[in-house]
Symmetry: C2
């Protein structure tokens, strides 16, 4: 503890610990040596995790933080290493994950004068972090004051990252040499950590609750639950739905499709429902009450935004206020934006509705069509399998079954890759009682960092974790697999390989430029991904067209990395999705017929 | 050409073309469709290059731009895709490479309202780009004005990126849907491009030149040439050295060690020379005249910064002024900083010295010791090989020989990986007549993006290109290999695999925390990298301890990817480097003995 930096860093880390940080991801380097030394010292209260690629390391930390619902820190050396944190910072901000970026830096006198590995890290993540501070260098001459500053900065970083809406915070920490001295000092709390900072979640205004309790009953209303990194309060929201007699449309990433809460009013096929013109027109609501981020389903979002915009009263409930980067009104049509904790709001409104006897006709319209769609889609997927044709929706059904069977006391987790996988999960992951948590990176919805997010979830979870991912996304974050073997984790990856970007086949680019579509949008990579699995010491299995629940369950039960690859064709995938939606539409129309007659 | 975005984008691209852009790297996506459509249309004057990972794509563009000495653009879709450009932007700024970042964006009304794949891209790269603009959306109602704006923005981006000091520029380009329409319109210049913007390189002040021409003769002076992305003017600088009778100390990335200029005064073993205490003390200069960035050699930089700082007059010559991020005085000891084009400055000073007969004693001191060091180091490396022990310096000698033999009319290129490879190249890449260009990413000196930079060099070069890289750096940018097969390139990689970060074994961390040094700094990854080579369709060869010039030359001559792996031991590597420096020191001392006697 002779070096000023050692006492300074330990005070900072103690305050992060008091603020809830338990896990710290370490990307190796020289300049962050005081952090690495402290984190790995005897008696360190932290679990340090080594990672070799800073881009993946930050996404790995994000995956852990999302899974745990607590802030996770990641540290790196100075230079472009720090710049590699930006993608995960962007995602953490928008998907509200508490992430603490600890970038080591050269001291101020080395900045902007051509010194090696010195780049402008002050405010490097711009608007993409909730708060950033450039810390002073630890110096013997003012060490007591500087240690107090470090404690304060650590406490604030943890609090800023954690309080709603959660998000990233950045501490840039300059160090002068020497960075280390001989003698392996154990980690001891030598300075009291800073005060724990506590902020109450925003409470609903009782005036607003009373007004809504008077206004909403008797109207045809929809509760819409979008993606949320910290799961939405399922029990409170379905209770509100029951009190109002309203359907609860649940995105797969909302947390409402799965679990032991009352799912009788939960709609899990909204994407298919609104694709059917008759239903879309019959089901127009008078009120929409939204929780969470924008829905994954583009047809649903479009329907909601464009159907009788002037006759629908739209309410957004969100803990984030207007000044945050989390403002949630992508359609720019909200009539009311209520800043409140969703659970507290739903409970207060439910209480205020006590005694109201809901009319269930509108809920029945949705629930009946939803049941029909679900049955038809299941059947359609089975029929495709029976015909021996690989289909990208199939693994969702099999993953759901295998995870439900494997879920122990701490549940199971399905990580949704972006682009097509999350859309297939939206279509084919149906309501279930088991505690299968579905998570994804829907802040910026990039295909980058998805592998790392899943590996982070595996590192932070006692239950089985599976990832459904496409080939481009798998390849983009291949380095993300490294911690599986290094840290003895267990991850099952279902890799849907259509040799390129399958989602583009659903877009106008396909028909507008047929001659060069495949090269510039479809972008076949031509790689045999079994080599990538071998590189990371995983087991590689090729899936067949039929049900593969057993193969997935076996992989979930085995330690280590399993990659189960389903090879599909992008063109056929469009046609097969069309078949499934067609079958769903038929079934949905059949439920409407008596109403229309 | 019906869509406003099409005319707008083509006007923008025409102006970039007029500003010198010929190559554009395209990362696939939907939002950047108007750019992709134009770049790949019949009649497009651009060479578009597909890449699947935006981080690598930007470094690939950087590698091309560095090789070509002309601005190269890279485009991507909205969201975290854009954030992945940051590391290369940081590097391009500090290593002065003209890079143009074209990020597609959602339109302003989708920003900060929770819309999908919409993140704050305005000013996303902060101080790390020389100039950034958030373009307006193309709209029919004001299209003529907007097209003029796009032309102006394209011209400015190309000029800003190109003019000294070169660097990155960022255009954020929002698009509203529709992004494409049917009908494959050829690329035609329908609007005149903007005026070409030309800036003169900064000319030296004649007052300063005259003063130096009077002051410098007769003093013991050193010309120090550091790394530079656009090669330093070798002929002009060595002519100045000859006129003054001063040694020219050449970093391997300065461009002065190799080529047909007079290399008789070029010192290529400065790192070894200043490690020898007797030489370090005998060779203290009175004047240091610096060109380029800080030297790769830490011993040399330390010697220069700490040896009699008050008695050495230090002059920095650089085209960049004090307001740029390229200020080059890491030791904070410059006595004069001269803003001038290095070639023009050297020529003017040489002309002003005409008639001066230099005293060569100080040059002889350096040159004699340098020759002795070089001979001793060559012999030491051969002796290690003869003992059958793999040594990380060996491949540098073999690469130099193979590249010299393979260099055609357009020369050959050696790309230096960061951390140990560039230091080994500093030690073992000796002066040669052949046109073997040595390049590296010494702006921020990160180990990221190195593979992509080399692949970009291969894409931009008619001659053979080889990369010397360590295992962590190779793994970090593994995706960077993808374009080799996709675009039919030829790259030879010599991979020095010591299963971790070899440089840390040279640092105090090794001895200060012996119990956990290997895990947290050495960081063995444990991967069999032959799988990584197989993934990208390359040939994998394991190198022996002896000379492998033939194997390298054969790889250089073959199309496609060759990875030649030398497996070494990190601990032994420290000892072997010590042996070599010891042998060099002996030889250097022998040249000093008569002087001391």
């Amino acid at each position: 503890m002779g070096l000023p930096a050692d006492r300074y860093v330990r005070a900072l880390l103690e305050s992060l610990y008091q603020g809830g940080v338990r896990h710290v991801v370490v990307a190796p380097g020289s300049r962050n040596t005081p952090l690495t030394t402290a984190l790995t010292a005897a008696g360190s209260p932290f679990r340090p995790w080594l990672h070799l690629d800073e881009r993946s390391a930050a996404y790995f930390a994000l995956g852990m933080a999302r899974q745990l619902g607590e802030p996770v820190a990641v540290t790196c050396t100075s230079g472009t290493a720090a710049a590699n944190f930006l993608p995960a910072a962007v995602e953490a901000r928008l998907s509200r994950v508490p992430l603490i970026l600890l970038t080591a830096d050269r001291p101020p006198e080395a900045r902007d004068v051509g010194a090696s590995q010195t780049v402008d890290q002050v405010g490097m993540f711009g608007s993409h972090v909730k708060w950033a501070a450039d810390l002073p260098v630890a110096e013997q001459g003012a060490l007591d004051e500087l240690v107090r500053y470090a404690r304060s900065a650590g406490a604030r970083a943890a609090a800023v990252a954690s309080e709603a809406p959660a998000g990233p915070a950045h501490l840039n920490i300059p160090f002068r040499e020497p960075l280390i001295e001989a003698g392996d000092a154990p980690f001891e709390g030598i300075d009291p950590p800073a005060a724990r900072i506590a902020a109450p979640p925003p409470a609903p205004s009782s005036e607003v609750v009373q007004r809504l309790a008077a206004m909403l009953p008797g109207r045809r209303g929809l509760i819409v639950c979008g993606p949320e990194s910290a799961p939405l309060p399922a029990g409170e929201i379905v209770a509100l739905g029951a009190a109002l007699g309203w359907p609860v449309v649940a995105d797969p990433l909302s947390g409402l499709r799965t679990g032991g809460h009352d799912r009788s009013g939960v709609i899990d096929c909204a994407d298919a429902l609104v694709r059917e013109a008759g239903f879309a027109s019959a089901a127009v609501p008078q009120v929409v009450l939204r929780f969470g981020a924008a829905m994954t389903s583009k047809p649903f979002n479009t329907w909601l935004a464009t159907t009788h915009p002037d006759r629908v009263h739209r309410i957004v409930v969100d803990a984030a206020g207007p000044a945050t980067a989390g403002w949630r009104d992508p359609d720019l049509q909200a009539d009311e934006s209520i800043e409140a904790d969703p659970g507290a709001f739903a409970s207060a409104l439910t209480a205020a509705l006590a005694g109201h006897a809901p009319d269930r006709a509108y809920l029945d319209l949705w629930a009946t069509a939803n049941d029909a769609a679900r049955t038809a889609m299941r059947q359609a997927v089975d029929d495709i399998a029976a015909a021996g044709e690989p289909f990208e929706g199939r693994p969702v059904l099999d993953l759901a079954a295998a995870l439900a069977a494997s879920a122990g006391p701490s549940g199971a987790t399905l990580v949704a890759g972006n682009s097509m996988p999350v859309r297939d999960i939206d279509s084919f992951l149906f309501s279930m009682e088991q505690d299968v948590r579905v998570v994804g990176t829907r802040g910026a919805s990039g295909i980058d960092g998805v592998v790392s997010g899943a590996v982070g979830a595996a590192a932070a979870s006692d239950g089985p974790v599976a990832l459904l991912i496409g080939d481009l996304s798998f390849l983009h974050d291949l380095n993300g697999l490294w911690p599986v073997a290094r840290h003895g984790l267990n991850l099952t990856v279902v890799l849907v390989n259509n040799n390129g970007g399958g989602i583009f086949s659903f877009l106008p680019q396909r028909t507008a430029t047929p001659a060069r579509f495949d090269e510039w949008w479809g972008t076949p990579h031509g790689l045999d991904l079994s080599h990538a699995v071998a590189l990371h010491g995983g087991r590689h299995t090729v899936l067949g067209a039929g049900a593969e629940v057993d193969a997935i369950a076996a992989a979930l039960a085995r330690p280590g990395l399993d990659v189960l690859e389903l090879r599909t064709d992008r063109e056929r995938n469009v046609a097969l999705h069309g078949q499934v939606w067609g079958r769903a539409a038929e079934a949905i129309r059949a439920t409407l017929a008596p109403v229309e007659a």
